[in-house]
Symmetry: none
Subunit: 81 residues, 2 copies
Amino acid sequence: MIDHESSTPVYRQLADILAARIKSGALANGRPIPSEVQLQQEFGVARGTARKAVAALRDAGLVHTVMGKGTYVGPAPKRPG
Amino acid sequence: MIDHESSTPVYRQLADILAARIKSGALANGRPIPSEVQLQQEFGVARGTARKAVAALRDAGLVHTVMGKGTYVGPAPKRPG
DNA sequence: TACCATTTGTCCGTATGTATG
DNA sequence: CCATACATACGGACAAATGGT
């Protein structure tokens, strides 16, 4: 899980965990990843840290975010389908 | 259209679009503007967002609303008839 | 009278975006 | 990095008002 004593930032640890779940297929393409609130509960981090982890995944092109709905595995589709 | 990536809120973008249509005369005085359902279909926003845009126009004095009927360009007449 | 479709009004829950300390 | 607060947005459900059948 998360090691708060590690020199690796917590948000980076969480981003790596989620990236691994995506690569393994545990989080399938097109499916939503856990919400920020769920992440903060599951991993015991603040919401701001969960957001930063998700932002890292987004910058890496692994997920896309829709405000008011959630964050989904894969790139954003042009057509809402 | 609506830019969900913009820093300007969606409801504000929609309000500006409708205000421009009013100023240009595309939506003439006394005529109804599109219903909330039509707005959410045409612009791909939630009804709550469409409502907030219309409320902004109402606060600006550009339109007036009649429950059960619709929202019309211009101020509310004191006595309809 | 009773429906029925349309439209606005309200409330709820959930999720992301931003800002401050 | 945590905690809090508020803004913005989506989605659903139901109530109230209007006008027509």
